[in-house]
């Protein structure tokens, strides 16, 4: 009862702004026009008539897909930063939580880059702007995860998440992935608890979304770990526990050895059974990742059905990311003139 009355005092402007942004997300008709483009300039011409407007207007003539990628990202960053700057508690904490996932990605990007010997000034521009923080640039100093914690991350909001995976081993390829997954697991569980504490419609929407994210990660970790040196116990430690699969599904996943066993585990859960059913790696099938993306889009669209909750912000960012992936996919197909799979984008509205 109470949230509906008092929500708009603090967050009404931002929710209204956000719903305006949401109505500018590309529709099916726009995608149909985009897949008919012959060159990237046609793409730019068509995007001019959408909410994107003249965002590519000042780019010099031969357009490349990476330029489009940068500009799309810049537009999203401007919108999110504007909302974050105008947000009050608890929305500001909520938006910060969303940013932490980008921070984790940036940290892992830099560590991997340093391991491959790339200089730091080459890697810094590749970081996502939503996930930058001052100490980011000093990542290249860290050789072990203890150093990573003590020197770099201890003052950042990511500090509590790395506590679970500190060890004195040197950072190498395998460990970096483990660190990424452990960081993300702690972050996800923390975010889930935060949303649950918020209660009301926010908890409804967000907990469902985060539970799906957790389960998706569990499946992907399991499938990717076949054929690597990751032991089953280590794998179990990487599963986030805030999803629908916890506790029995996760235990079963921990025992799996190949794809069919994973599918069998998924069969116990009706929503995931459907996703595994129609996917496969044959040409003409949708891949499992695509089905996951589709399911996510469906959940995010549902989030907009409720008002007076923060889930709409999370949903908008996710939908925008999906839209950017779609535009870049179509752009790549157009640029390389390989139009066979051009309509493998995920339609949103």
């Amino acid at each position: 009862m109470m949230p509906e009355i008092s929500f708009n005092i603090d967050h009404g402007y931002l929710e209204g702004l956000l719903r305006g942004f949401k109505s500018g997300i590309l529709k099916q008709a726009d995608y149909l026009n985009l897949i008919q483009c012959e060159t990237l300039d046609d793409l730019k011409l068509h995007l001019q008539s959408t909410d994107y407007g003249n965002f590519l207007a000042n780019e010099p003539s031969p357009l490349t897909v990476s330029v489009i990628d940068d500009k799309l990202r810049e537009k999203l960053v401007i919108e999110v930063e504007h909302m974050r700057n105008h947000a009050l508690e608890p929305l500001s904490t909520f938006l910060d939580y969303i940013k932490y996932s980008y921070m984790i990605d940036n940290v892992i990007l830099l560590i991997t880059g340093t391991l491959h010997g790339r200089p730091i000034h080459e890697l810094l521009p590749k970081c996502h702007p939503l996930g930058t923080f001052d100490q980011l640039a000093a990542i290249n100093l860290a050789n072990t995860s203890i150093m990573l914690y003590n020197a770099v991350l201890v003052d950042t909001p990511l500090a509590p998440y790395i506590k679970d995976c500190i060890s004195a081993e040197d950072l190498d390829e395998m460990n970096v992935e483990i660190i990424r997954n452990t960081l993300y697991k702690s972050y996800l569980e923390d975010f889930y608890n935060f949303c649950k504490k918020q209660g009301g419609a926010t908890a409804d929407v967000m907990c469902e979304a985060l539970a799906f994210d957790a389960d998706r990660r569990a499946f992907i970790i399991t499938i990717n770990s076949f054929g690597t040196e990751l032991s089953k116990e280590d794998r179990m430690k990487l599963y986030p526990r805030c999803g629908n699969l916890y506790p029995t599904g996760l235990k079963m996943l921990g025992e799996c050895d190949d794809y069919d066993q994973v599918k069998a585990v998924a069969d116990y859960y009706p929503q995931y059974k459907e996703l595994f059913e129609n996917s496969g790696s044959n040409p003409g099938d949708k891949t499992l990742e695509d089905k996951f993306f589709e399911h996510e889009v469906k959940l995010m669209k549902k989030a907009f059905m409720q008002q007076f909750q923060f889930g709409v912000f999370y949903a908008y960012i996710r939908l925008k990311e999906q839209e950017n992936r779609n535009i870049l996919w179509i752009g790549e197909c157009v640029a390389q003139r390989h139009r066979a799979k051009i309509d493998s984008y995920i339609p949103i509205f």
Binding site: N33, Q36, C37, L45, S61, H121, D134, A151, D155
Partner: protein, 524 residues
Amino acid sequence: MSMDALLRSEEMTLCQMFLQSEAAYACVSELGEIGLVQFRDLNPDVNAFQRKFVNEIRRCEEMERKLRFLEKEINKDGIPMLNTGDNPEAPAPREMIDLEATYEKLENEMKEVNSNSEALKRNFLELTELKHILRKTQTFFEEAHHHQQALHDPSIAEERVGLLGEDPVSRSGQQKLGFVAGVILRERIPSFEVMLWRVCRGNVFLRQADIEAPLEDPITGDSVHKSVFIIFFQGEQLKSRIKKICEGYRATLYPCPETQAERREMAIGVMTRIEDLNTVLGQTQDHRHRVLVAAAKNIKVWSIKVRKIKAIYHTLNMFNLDVTQKCLIAECWCPVADLDRIQQALRSGTERSGSSVPSIINRMQTRMVPPTYNRCNKFTQGFQNIVDAYGVACYREVNPAPFTCITFPFLFAVMFGDMGHGLIMFLFALFLVLKEKQLQAKKIQNEIFSTFFGGRYIILLMGAFSVYTGLIYNDVFSKSLNLFGCQWVIPSSTYNLEALAADKIIVKPNGTFTGTSYPIGVDP
């Protein structure tokens, strides 16, 4: 005929034009100048990027981009752009190539000048930072010297004996501290210090001093505040770590000589180099200024020309290409009364393009409902806008606008009704109307002002009517005027002091009202 035009919208007819391909551009340009036709889109289901003249439109957009870039540079330097207010005609297609070449050249020149001056500014920044470092590090080295002295002091060296068991005297030779000096943004210093302390486990010694004058960042041109810092450390490993941290925080490191004499020499060298750079920078700026001033003279005219070209090609995209006869077919709505002017425009367009075949226009019968066109002058335009805001009238329906010219200000005045304020409104609007031409030439962008300016005639009438109703209501700045005296007389016999002291007094009209009414207005 003209009475009818005021009461209703104009009679429109659907026309078909056959334009020779070469003449089409010039004809559309002429028609655009007179502004009396509305073209119909004959290719509604064709995508925007599959239309015929899409390439030309792209070229126009490229040109617009270059012009925008030049305008931005001109504004950055604060050069005023000449705005004569004249209306250049759209140039012919072959001139478009010349224009493109000109803009390309200008853009390349500007980019070159910008990159040169960026490199020079970067150099200048480095030298300035070096100069500040050389100045500030003097105090640091003195302190470090004391620190070093303290290390030589046997009372402190005793602590090390216990830990390492070595001869303190022999160790003192190795107490030489290495150092790095550099400059960093002031905002980053706290985080930098913390990071240094954590990574080097407190084994380094940081001193910093602010640079008072703000420095100019070469890329963005903003002035930023920076600080000089110097880090003392021992050992090579710490040195590499410190260097990595500095790189991460984008602090620039400079080689700083250790002895006082070397520093002074370096400072002198730096000063002379700074002087030289200043002169070169000055010359580059002058050159850039000259280029921009030359461009600023024409840039407004160029913008208008490019916009016209783009509009012409957008219009041409709506035409149907009749490939067999090499001519374009266009359909448009135009007022019957202006057919002569349109034909004249077509003729002059055909002449201008040098085509032999004349363009043909013929009227078509149709069942489609024509668009509503109300011919307005600058006075009625304001009222027409207000009426259209509620809804545009149907074709040949009675147009309420002429009636609103009087009723709207009158009803406003009935509600407003103050002579004083009405007079102020009237005078303000009179000022706007008399200074019309100058104000229009200024092209003021302020939305609120342009609202008032657009409605100046409306406000004029509203003010005039308000004065009239203010007179009737007898209201000047919310006070009354006693123009005709009061027609109520209070006889002191009936209404003496005792009667007035009562709670309620009723003024009986019998004894008090003189019986005549006021010529105009309300009792004061």
